[in-house]
Symmetry: C2
Subunit: 579 residues, 2 copies
Amino acid sequence: MIPMSALHRLIPEWLQPYPKDKLGADLAAGLIVTILVIPQSLAYALLAGLPPQLGLYVSIFPVIAYALLGSSMVQAVGPVAITSIMTYSVLSPIATPATPEYAVLAAVLSLLSGFMLFACGLLRLGFLSQLLSRPVISGFISGSAVLIVISQLKYLVGFSPRGGNSGEVLLDILHRLIESHGPTLAIGLSALFVLAIVRLALSGWLVKAGMSAARAAFIVRLMPLIVVLGGMAVVVAFDLDRRHGVAVVGTVVSGLPDFNFFLPSLESTQSLLRPAFVMTLIGMVQGITMAQALAIKRRERIDANAELLGLGAANVVAAFYGGMPVGGGTSRSAINVAAGAQTPLSSIVSAIAMIGVVAGASQWFERLPLAVLAASIIMAALSMIDLRALRLAWAYDRADALALLCTAGGVLLFGLEAGIGMGIVLSMATLLFRVSTPHIAVVGRVPGTEHFRNVARYAVETLPGVLFLRIDERLFFGNLGAVEQRLGQELERAAGTRDLVLVMSGVNLMDTTAAEVFAELNHDLAERGIRMHLAEVRGPVQDRLMKSALWGALSGEVFLSANAAYEKLAPAKVWCPEI
Amino acid sequence: MIPMSALHRLIPEWLQPYPKDKLGADLAAGLIVTILVIPQSLAYALLAGLPPQLGLYVSIFPVIAYALLGSSMVQAVGPVAITSIMTYSVLSPIATPATPEYAVLAAVLSLLSGFMLFACGLLRLGFLSQLLSRPVISGFISGSAVLIVISQLKYLVGFSPRGGNSGEVLLDILHRLIESHGPTLAIGLSALFVLAIVRLALSGWLVKAGMSAARAAFIVRLMPLIVVLGGMAVVVAFDLDRRHGVAVVGTVVSGLPDFNFFLPSLESTQSLLRPAFVMTLIGMVQGITMAQALAIKRRERIDANAELLGLGAANVVAAFYGGMPVGGGTSRSAINVAAGAQTPLSSIVSAIAMIGVVAGASQWFERLPLAVLAASIIMAALSMIDLRALRLAWAYDRADALALLCTAGGVLLFGLEAGIGMGIVLSMATLLFRVSTPHIAVVGRVPGTEHFRNVARYAVETLPGVLFLRIDERLFFGNLGAVEQRLGQELERAAGTRDLVLVMSGVNLMDTTAAEVFAELNHDLAERGIRMHLAEVRGPVQDRLMKSALWGALSGEVFLSANAAYEKLAPAKVWCPEI
C-alpha cells in the first residue's frame, strides 16, 4: 500500500486543499483563456510548419500536465513563438513542412526536449538557467523575432519564395513582390493594419473615452480573436478561398485525436539531439524567467526545478498528443493573469474547455485565412524585438551590448543554435576577461590607526624595504598571469624591497593553480632575497593552504592582520640607524 | 628606404649588440646540444609516425626561426613528445603512417598550427594560454604520456598489433605477448632497463662516488645517447637487423633535403583545422609556460606574444623543411640550460651543427634499432606522468583533482581533443559554479566604532526594521539567482523590515543583468513597503549605475558609508518611544 504521505506529495500544493473562494475566478478565467488563445494556438502551429489544429491539441493534455507538476500559480503553457520558430528552423532543412515525416520529427523533438527538461528538473539543474545573461537572451529573442517575421511573409504575399535561408527568402519575396496574390495580400495587410492600431493606440483611446484601464486592456486582448473572426467572415462572405484562391486553414479533422504513443527512431534521435538540447536550454530559461517574474509580481514563490518537471512533462505529453513542442507563453500567461486566474485550476478548466472546442467546433476554422494568422504572428513577433534592451545595455555596458548584438546577428546569419552558442561563448569570455584583471593595490597604514589604504589615494605611512600589496579578488588559473605581472612591476618600482606582505583579506578562494604559482613565486623571491609574508588570510583559504606546498616553504610569516605585520617588520625605533 | 629604427626592430634584442663574453659558452652549449638531442629528435619523429630523420631536419631551420623571433634566452624548440603524439593521434586514423600522404598531412598540420600561433602572437592573444588551469594541463600531459607509452609498445614486441584505439592495441599486445620477436624484445627491454637505472639511481651513485652534482647531471643527460649508440653497436656486432630481423631506422636519405614550399589543399585544411587549433592551444600553453618557468629561474623576462610569434614561425618553417610540428621542448631546454647556454645563439650554433650531422652523418643511424628509440620514448613519457600533481590537487581542491582526472580519462578514452575539451568545460563550470555562490553577510555596527561586521561572528548593534546586507562579490548574470534567494531568506527572517541597506563595498562590477535584476527588486520591495538603500558603492560601479533604470527609481537613498546609513536610519533618540 502506498503510504498517505507519499500520495500527499503527489498532489500539487494548490490542491491541498483547493481554496474554494478562488473557484469562481478560476472557472471564469479558464473559459476566457480558452477562447482568447485559439488564434495564437493555430498561428504558432502554422509557424512551426505544422497543421494549425495541432496548436489546439497541445493546448489540452500538456496544459494539464504542467498544472499538476509546475510551481507557478498563473503561468500558462502551450504553443509559443520561440519553440515554434525553433521547430521550424530545425526541421525545415531536413523535411518538408506539413508532411507526415515532418510531423513525426516535430513529435520526436518535443519528446526529446521534454525528456531533457524533466531530467534537468529531477537532477535539480534549474540553476543552469543562469548560464545565459539577459542581453544574450534578449538578443536571441529579437533575432528569432526577425526570423519569425520573415518566415510568415510568404502567407501575406501568397506565393512560395525560393531560397535556403532567411536572407535569400526575404530578397526573393522583395524581388517578386509584384507577383503577390492580390486578395491574399489585401486581407493580410488589412489584418496587420488593424492589429497595429490596436496595439499602438486602442487602449489609450478607450481610456480617453472613459473606460477603465482594466476593461480597456481586456478589449485589446480580445481584438486578435475579433480580427481572426473578421477575416474568416470576409472569406466566407466573398467566397475568397473558393473563387479567388486565398489560402485558408483547410480540412480540419474533426473530433479528438488519439493518444499516439511511439518510440523515436535512433536516426531521428541522433539528428535531433543537439537542437533538442538548445530547445531545452531556451525553454528552461524562458519558462523559469517568466514564472519568476509572474511570481514576484504576485508575491508568490516558484521552484525552478518543479518548473522544469512541469515543462518537461508538458512536452512529453505534447509529443504523444498533438506532436509539437510547447513552452511557457508570455502572452498566454498575460491573458491568464488578466482574466483573473488564481491557481492552475484555471489552466485545467481551459484545457477541458479546449476539448470541447476541438471535439465540436474545430471545423469552424477551416475557412480561416492563413494571411490573417500570419499577420497576428508578425504582430506578436514585432513586439518581441527589444531595441530598448540594446539601448540600455549600450549605455550601461558595451561588452553586454556586444553580446546582445552578436547573439542577434548570429541568429540571423547562422541560425538559432549558432547564435545562442556565440552568445554563451561571448558571455563566458567577458566573464573570464573581467575576472582575469584583478584589482591589486599597494597599501600603507593610515597614521594613528590600524587601517590600511591604497597609497595612491590616501596619505599613509609605509615602511622602507617593505611592500604591502592587497589583492582584492579570488585567485584562480585565469588571473594569475596578471597578478604575477603586477607583482613584478611593483617590486621593480620599489627597488630594495626585502619583505613583501600580501594582504589577502579580499581573496576568498585560491585554486590549485594559484597555490602552485604562489609556491613558485615564494621560491623565486626567496632566491632574490625577498621574504614573502601573508596577512589577513581568510579561514577557508588558510585551511586549504595548510595542505599546499606553499605553507611549509613560505619564506616569511603568516600574520593575522596587516597591522601585526607592520608592527613586526617596522625597524625597532630605539636602535634603528635611520632615525 | 627602410628607416634604421624599423630595421633595428627586426633584429632580435639579444643581438643588439651580442654580448661577446657569452660567445664561448653559447658555442660550447650549441655543439653539446646538437649531439645530445639526436636520439630524441629521431625518436619523436618515429612517435609522430614519420621517418626518423625528419626529427633531425626540423632541428635546423625551425630552431633558427625561433631563435630570431622568440623572447626566451634558453628555450630550445624542436620535435617534442606532445606535438608528436598529437600528430600521430590526429593523422593515423586518416592515413597510414610513414606513407607520402601521411607526410603531406603532417606538414599541413604543422603549417596550420604554425600559422595560428603566429596569428595569435600578432593579435596579442598570449593571455589565452591562461584558459587552461594547471590540473587540466597536468591531466592532459599524463593522459598523453600513457597514449605515448602504448603507441611505442609495438616497437618493443616487434609485431603490429590490431585494434583501432589505444585500449584495443594494448589488449592485443598483452594477448599476443608470446608472439613477440625475441631479439627485438631483448634489446628493447635492456635499453629500457638501463635507462630506468640511469633515471632513478645513476646521479645519486655518481655523487656518492665523489663526483660534483653538475657533472653527474651532465653524465645522466649523456646516457640516452650512449644507450642509443650501444644499441646500434649491438645490432652491428651481431648483424641483428640483417640476420635476425630486428627492425632498424633503415635507409636514410643522405644530405640535406630541399625546401619544399606548398599550399595545403582545401580538403586537408578543412579536416585538419580543428586538430590544428587544439595543437595551437596546447603548443601555446606549453611553450609559454615553459619559457616563463625558465625565465623566472634566470630572472629574465619573456614576452608571451613574442613566444607565439617564435613558435608560429618555427612551425611554418618546419612545414616547408622537414614537415613535422615542433614545440618548446622540456628536455631539450633542460639540456640547453645544463650545457651552459646564455642566449639563442646557442640554438643557432646547434642548428648549424645539425646541418653538418644531416649532411654528413645521418646514414650512420641506418642500423639504429627502433626498439631502443622506443625505449627512450617510453622512459621520457613515463616521466611525464605526474601522479604527485593529482595527489596534491586531491588534498587541496577536489574540484581541481576531478578536472585533472576527467582530462586524463577523456584523453585516454575519447582522444586528445575530447580530453582537453572536457578539461576546459569542467574548469569553466567550476569557475561559474564558484562565482555563482557569492558571500553575503548580514552586518551590524561594532559598538563605539564606525565598523560593520558579520552579525553571526561579532557582538554588533543593529537597528529595528533595518537590515544591513553586505555583498562580497561582483554581481553578474551567473550569481543573481543566489543573491535574490539569499535576500528573500534574510527578509523573511527579519520580518518587519522597512529599510534594506545593501553595503556594496565588495562589489567591483555589476553587469547589465545585475542592474536590471536590482531595478526589479527595488520595484518589488517598494510594493511590499520596503525601501532599498545602497551604501559604499564603488566609484566605477556608481558611474555605471547612474545610467541604469535602478538609479532614478531607487526607493531609498545612496549613502557614502554604512555608518552614514546607520546614523540616518536610527530612530532619533530624544522622542523614540522604544527608549
